[in-house]
Structure formats: structure tokens, C-alpha cells
């Protein structure tokens, strides 16, 4: 058994369900990997550990950082994308006349640093939002709940639930993917060195994750949920159920290409079109060798398609 670590970008939650499920089911072990999942957090930077070779796999948020890595000559590649759609949303209070995308320009938006550095730059360039609108979000939604005239970032799978529970209202939701931010999300990033020296491990991780996600979404998620709940005592089964439900509803993990190619699917067209879009928006510089930011070597092999069929009967 080879020991590897996978660093996530947040505390354990349903959005990481597939990986936990694969660990719980022994899916990774079947192909020879013993995977340790290293949770992230608001100030935790697990990518640094990837760069330093302390962990082998890292969960990327969206593709912009993958482009940055190319720009900085960092030998890092995306080997799989587990979210076909970016689940990032902006939320507003209902009944405030803030029901349109355009109306978001009139208010302050609570947003974390990552969001500000990635999709908000695109919103500025593509839609004319302004940097002054941004207020820092410290992952405490109280200011949003308190002030009906501000917007806030969130994951479609998480924040709306919390807001509903505590604030007592169902927020308006604007899914960025619907407005053209069609990046892959929740990618798996690996150093080139690992790909060259140990392609079997990478393949095992990518395949295992695809199966894990299939099981988590369409099978019995309780084994994965149990691990998540153990690693994050604050997580509730209700929240997990809500998130899982939303992931299915919006086709976050499994939609479009992945229906044919298997979970984790990526295509060159999608990469190029997103890159063009970001170049047009001025978020990333022109002339990068986008092809070197990813490899299709490990995905698009239809792994897990049979399993899904057997689980869903479709």
C-alpha cells in the first residue's frame, strides 16, 4: 500500500463526499493507495504543501489558479475536475428588488479573498462590477443576514441552507456558472513530477474518486457521511443531506461531459473557451500555454458509468 495525502480547501463537508466515500469504501485501497484527507479551512493553505511535495494531491477551487501556476512556471497539472459546474453563487435577500444580476451592481458584496481574486475579477471585467463594492467576508454570514441591502458569496450547496435555518428566509441565488463563469471546480491538482514518477498512483486516485463520487451521489452515502461527521463535529446530517441534494439538483458533479466520459471529465474545448473568456476579461494574461496546465491522460475513461447505471437503474 502506498501512502498519499489529499489536501482539501475547506473543512470536511458534503462537497468532499466522494473522496470520503472512497476512503470509507476502501475504493482507493483496491488499487493500492492509502489516502489521508487533510482538511483545509478559512486561513489554511494546503496548496503550499502540494508545491513542497508534502502532499501528493490537492483540491483546486477553479481553473484560474491553474493558469496562474503556468504563468509562474510552476510544474503543476490538473488531472481531473470533479465539479462540472462551479457551485459558487451570490445571494441576496428576497423582496428587496435585488432579483436580477444587474441589480447586484447597486449593493455591497461580501466576498472572501479567493473569490475577489478570481471570479470577481471576471465580474468586473465582463459585467462592469466595481472593486469598491466588495466587502470582506470572514465566513460569518451575520453581516449579510443583518443587512438586507448587501449580497454575499456562497456555495449553492451550503450557505443557502445555513441562511435559511438562522435568518428565516430563502435567499435569491445567482449561480455564477449560469452567467458564464464556466470553469471546472473542485479539481485535482498534482505536481508534474508525481505524474512522471508515479502515474499509477495518480490513475488510482482519479479512478477511485470517480467511483467514490458515484457511490456518494447515487448510492448509500452513510459511510462517507460518517467520516465527515467524525472529522468535523460541527457538521450535521441535515446539512449533509441538503448539500448532497443540491449537488444532484444542479448537476454540480455529474452533468454534461461527465455523463458520457465519467465523473472527473475534462475537455480541451472547455479549457480553451474558459481561458479565452478570462483573457478577454483581463483576469489572466494572454499567451499562456494552457495545454500544459492540465492533462487528459487520466480522465474521460468512463470509469464509474457502469456503477451509476447499476445504482440508478438508468
Amino acid at each position: 500500500q502506498e501512502q498519499v495525502s489529499f489536501g482539501t480547501n475547506w473543512l470536511p463537508q458534503a462537497e468532499h463526499g466522494g473522496y470520503y466515500q472512497a476512503v470509507a469504501d476502501g475504493t482507493y485501497e483496491d488499487c493500492g493507495l492509502e489516502v489521508t484527507i487533510l482538511p483545509g479551512g478559512p486561513q489554511v493553505n494546503n496548496r503550499a504543501l502540494l508545491l513542497a511535495g508534502k502532499i501528493q494531491f490537492h483540491m483546486g477551487g477553479n481553473l484560474i489558479q491553474a493558469f496562474s501556476a503556468i504563468e509562474q512556471d510552476i510544474p503543476l497539472k490538473v488531472v481531473a475536475a470533479h465539479f462540472q459546474k462551479e457551485p459558487q453563487v451570490l445571494m441576496t435577500h428576497p423582496d428587496q428588488g435585488l432579483d436580477t444580476w444587474e441589480s447586484l451592481k447597486d449593493i455591497k458584496l461580501l466576498m472572501g479573498d479567493n473569490g475577489f481574486q478570481s471570479y470577481y475579477q471576471w465580474m468586473i471585467a465582463a459585467y462592469g462590477f466595481s472593486a469598491d463594492q466588495r466587502e470582506p467576508y470572514t465566513f460569518n454570514p451575520a453581516p449579510f443576514v443583518a443587512n438586507p441591502r448587501v449580497g454575499q458569496q456562497g456555495y449553492v450547496t451550503s450557505e443557502p441552507y445555513a441562511i435559511e435555518q438562522v435568518g428565516g428566509f430563502v435567499p435569491n441565488i445567482f449561480l455564477l456558472a449560469d452567467y458564464g463563469f464556466d470553469t471546472y471546480a473542485t479539481t485535482v491538482e498534482v505536481m508534474t513530477e508525481t505524474i512522471e514518477e508515479n502515474p499509477e498512483a495518480v490513475q488510482c486516485f482519479v479512478d477511485g474518486s470517480a467511483i467514490g463520487w458515484t457511490n456518494y451521489l447515487y448510492g448509500d452515502p452513510s459511510a462517507g457521511d460518517e467520516l465527515i461527521l467524525a472529522a468535523n463535529p460541527e457538521m450535521t446530517p441535515e446539512q449533509l443531506a441538503f448539500s448532497r441534494e443540491k449537488m444532484r439538483e444542479y448537476g454540480i458533479v455529474d452533468s454534461g461531459d461527465s455523463l458520457e466520459l465519467g465523473i472527473g471529465a475534462m475537455t480541451e474545448e472547455r479549457y480553451n473557451s474558459f481561458y479565452e473568456k478570462m483573457v478577454d476579461a483581463g483576469v489572466v494574461p494572454d499567451g499562456l500555454d494552457v495545454d500544459s496546465s492540465y492533462t487528459l491522460e487520466f480522465v474521460n475513461k468512463g470509469v464509474g458509468l457502469d456503477l451509476r447505471k447499476s445504482l440508478t437503474g438508468e
Binding site: 489554511v44 493553505n45 508534502k54 460569518n140 454570514p141 443576514v145 438562522v166 435568518g167 463535529p233
Partner: protein
Amino acid sequence: MSQAEADDSVAWAAAQEANTRNNRRARLARVGLPFLLFVLLIAGWHFLVVINEIPAYILPGPGTVLTTLIKDWPILSQSMINTLAITGLALVVATLGGVGLAILFSQSRLVEYSLFPYAVVLQVTPVVAVFPLINIYVENTVAKLLICAWIIAFFPILSNTTLGLNSADRNLHNLFALYGASRWQTLRHLQLPAAMPYFLGGLRIAGGLSLVGAVVAEFVAGTAGFGSGLAFRIIEAGYRLNIPRMFAAIILISVAGIMIYLVLSLVSHLILRKWHESALDREK
């Protein structure tokens, strides 16, 4: 016992009694007034929340927080113990490091001029920014937490102790030189005692900072494998909009801070009361 001595005893006893009476009143005031103020503040907080109808997810009232504190005590107390453990360790390490460096610096102005800048660099470097580096090269979680907390807490001790070591009376220095005292002896018998009031002042600042450091370290480094502290509770509760619990955790941090300060003040008083102006009674 002679008559005179007996008289003295009586006078002394009377004085003692008067003192005790005064002391008792003073002590009553010392405990009573702060307590009164505390009650007033809590009441103010309560009415602020009630009158402005501030919802609990923005600013919970003291009642709500107390209820939460009691309800969540099993979780919170465990977190508090974890945080206090790191705080205590950090304070010990900060004290050793700060005093050690101060002693090194006091040995020569040259050493001081050469090394102090790096101490300042450590003080001002944002932990958040250098943490990834620490994270790469340090394996042990407790060690990581300690390094972060230490970076935050050691400087006041270093700075104040250095000042104190340099503030020993010149004539006493001369006396030690005359008696051929070694560097170590001068340090041990002259500079360290003379630096005590300054060092203890630095320690009181560092006590709070160790706690801040433990909390920040946890924010930054997480607590994987060590057990989550109050910082984790705050983040988590904030994220879940469980604001009463967040406030309960903040209040526990405050209480811990006050306790640390009181303990260090007491230690300071006990060490200095025999001789230093700052610890002497103000009465005649």
C-alpha cells in the same frame, strides 16, 4: 514580656486592627466596585439587545450567551482546555526565548545591534503569510502551533527585559566590577533582579499575547491531530451562524485572558512587594 513591649503589642494590635478594618473596606471596594461595574455592563448589554431588538445572530444577549455556555459546556470546556494548553506552553517558550535573547543582547551592545533587527522582523512578520513555510518544514502540529504563538508573544518579554537589564544602577555595576564579578555573576545577582519589574511587566503583556497567539495559530494552522480549541469553535460557529456559541467562545477567551492576567499580576506582586515602588502600598 516587659511592660513596654506589652504596650507595643497593644499599639501594634490596635494598628493592626485599624489596618484590618481599612483593608477590609478597601478589599470590599476592590471587589465590590469592579463587580458593580460588571453587573452594569451586562445589564447595559442586555437592554441594548432587548430595546433595539437586535437578533441573536448579530449580537446575542447575555442571557442567551449564558444559556449557550451552559448547554455547550462539554464541547467548549474541552476546547478551552486545548487552547489553554497551547497558551501555557507558548508563554513558557516565549518567556524562555525572550529572556534568553535579552540576556544575550545585554552582554554587548554589538550583539544587540546585530540581532535586534531580526527580533523585530519576527515580531512584525504576519504569521498568516509565513505559516505556509512553517507548515512545510515542521511536522508536529503542536510544534507548529507553538511556533506561531511564540512569534506573537515573545517580543514584549524580550524588549522589556532588555530594557530592564540595561537599567541596573550604575554604582551597583561599579561595585560588581570592583569585586571582580564575572559576567554571569553580574547578570545573576545584579541585572536580573534589577530587570524584574520590567520583565514582569513584559510578562503581563505576553500572557495575553500568548492567548492571542494560541488562537491565531489555531486559525492559521488548524488543530488536526491535537483537538480543536476555541478558535476552531469560533470559526465553525460563525460559519454556522451559531452566533451565541461564537460569543460564548469569545467570552471564554476573555475570561481566560483575565485569569492569566490576574495570575501574572499576583506573581508579580509577590516578587516585587518587598522592594519595588510599583508594588508597594500607596498608603503611608
